[in-house]
């Protein structure tokens, strides 16, 4: 088994995920969607890395690859120094106790035919932890911890509101005391007043259990609030990564700047400037050479569409992939 010396909790190295696009006669592979294209980052124990980007930027694919719900095309993932991608069968299943995921859609991610108690107990059953009575006690404690009354155990998901369902999903994710949790847009489908409750809950749990989070979101303010460091993705690549405060107060990459400018502020006097970016996100099917943002970039120069920028060290743990940042 491959393993490396690392202090990080989880580390992705040169992660790539292509999806084949099949077309025409014989269902031939006509092209590849470059969902994630050479992405590397690491997350420490108890740290939250925020991952932001627009639709199609590949942020959800990164999250799913990290917990091996999807097999990356190439690259490696080290969990506490151990290469996850070489694990198989029973070894992998055992390892899965350490990393869990909370999904975006609180309606689609809970089995409607299972009671809330059975949903939260399922990870314990799969990993053969405790007997029936112990599991019931543990489920009651978990539900209480996420702010639900233990008496809801015998009820079904449809009886709950979106925020309550997300609490059930969180209880299930922490049932095995994981060390790393991918939070894939956990609050995007929730109303703001409920969103704040769930964000607070996730932060409290992190403090208690010392979990590392990959927090995926398109809502910039939530990421600004919860994460220690932030990575910004555009069309399958990380264009900027660094400490959250620095990114939100002085972004380096022109895409990050535009994203921050486009986000509506809670201040009516903020003014109504012209939209920071023209045009749409291009397709990430077989992308052209050079910088993928070049076509929409306000500071692009001719050579931007020729050579692809790599993440450059700007000091202070800040990196940006731009020739002219």
């Amino acid at each position: 088994m491959k393993s490396v010396e690392t202090t990080a909790l989880i580390e992705a190295r040169n992660l790539v995920k292509y999806f084949p696009v099949r077309r025409g006669f014989f269902n031939r592979v006509a092209a590849h969607v470059h969902a994630v294209d050479d992405v590397s980052f690491s997350i420490d124990r108890g740290e939250t890395l925020g991952l932001v980007g627009e639709t199609g930027s590949g942020k959800t694919t990164v999250g799913r690859c990290l917990v091996r719900l999807m097999e990356p095309t190439s690259g490696s993932i080290f969990f506490e120094g151990e290469d996850l991608l070489t694990l198989k069968g029973r070894k992998l299943r055992e390892k899965r106790r350490d990393f869990q995921i909370v999904f975006q859609d609180p309606f689609g991610s809970l089995n409607p035919r299972m009671t809330v108690g059975a949903i939260v107990a399922e990870p314990l059953v799969i990993h053969k932890l405790g007997n029936r009575r112990e599991r019931t006690e543990r489920v009651a404690a978990l539900l209480e911890r996420v702010g639900l009354d233990p008496s809801v155990m015998s009820r079904y998901p449809h009886e709950f509101s979106g925020g309550q369902r997300q609490r059930v999903g969180i209880a299930r994710a922490i049932a095995l005391k994981p060390r790393f949790v991918v939070c894939d847009e956990p609050v995007s489908a929730l109303d703001v007043s409920v969103q704040a409750q769930i964000v607070n809950l996730l932060q409290d749990l992190q403090e208690e259990l010392g979990m590392g989070y990959l927090f995926i979101a398109h809502g910039l303010n939530v990421v600004a609030h919860i994460s220690t460091r932030t990575a910004v993705m555009y069309l399958g690549r990380i264009v900027e990564i660094g400490p959250t405060r620095e990114i939100f107060t002085g972004a380096l990459h022109p895409y990050t700047k535009a994203l921050l400018e486009a986000a509506p502020k809670l201040d009516p006097s903020a003014g109504k400037g012209p939209p920071p970016l023209e045009g749409d996100l291009p397709s990430n099917m077989d992308p052209p050479p050079g910088c993928r943002f070049a076509a929409r970039c306000p500071i692009a120069r001719p050579d931007c569409s020729e050579k692809e920028p790599q993440l450059r060290d700007f000091g202070g743990d800040r990196f940006a992939a731009c020739h002219y940042a």
Partner: protein, 340 residues
Amino acid sequence: MLPSLLSGGAESVIISAMEELLKVEDLVVSFPSEKGEVRVVDGVSLEVGKGEAAAVVGESGCGKSMTALSLFRLVPYPGRIVGGRILLKGRDLMQLGEKEICATRGRDLTMVFQDPLSALNPVMTIGAQITEAVHAHEKVSKAEATDRAVEALELVGLPSAKERLKAYPHQFSGGMRQRVLIAMALVCGPSLLVADEPTTAIDVTIQAQILDLLDRLREEKGLAILLITHDLGVVARFAERVYVMYCGRVVEEAPVKDIFQNPAHPYTEGLLASVPGMTGGATRLKAIPGTVPSPDALPPGCSFAPRCPLQDSGCEVGAPPFTPVGEAHSARCFKVEASK
């Protein structure tokens, strides 16, 4: 000459902004349930002036979308409008016959929906869908309807509009589909556009483009827009006048500046405090405790009382009345101090 012209222009803008276009009075929408009639919209009154940008903001289930549908008398069965008046240019839409209301919908009063993909017919070209709207309201030739469609698509900033008439909805991106829907809503020259969460399904950089387009339509066409949204950031960016809804009632109404700088209702304050700031590093968010009550199990008196930091036993006696707290600013709360 020029400065006086300009100042005259500014004045006339103010006057025309005062001119009333839509006035809703005491609107009540109710749905039958096992526990009897449930009022999902309970006594909503609002006004939109000519060329004004108004917004109704609230969380899911607060009745904002139902209020929007009521303006078109499109409340889904078995719900119905059981009270109130809806005056568009002084004409009560509640009194119109089915034929007359059909002639108003899509012509004087139009709507843009949240999900542009399901609002467009996937098996019709966008040209056919837009000209269909023209033919529904006006006796014009095919060629003229096509010209109008191209004009509308150009107005919303769709590149090479003429060629794209033959394209189908799936060939457009989310932002472009939303532009097509807006073009369809504009093709008959409405005076009021109701936009129900028009940017919710769209990425922020595209959202900025759509909001900019709506601003431009107001300026150039004098179009009044009633925006229905849950996003306070969009409200701050776009609206002039804001109505905050909670549990079927408007709980606060004010000019946009006052809502954000000087909120009076504890629910509005709570909502604003729940939104994390963009600078990061803050401590805990001030979440509103509890959840929105179900419309068939509303608490007596003020519906917000069980979640309210200011509540006491006095809050359970009947619905709080509107208390004026400033100029054109009032809140439905027993605890706010009336101005003057």
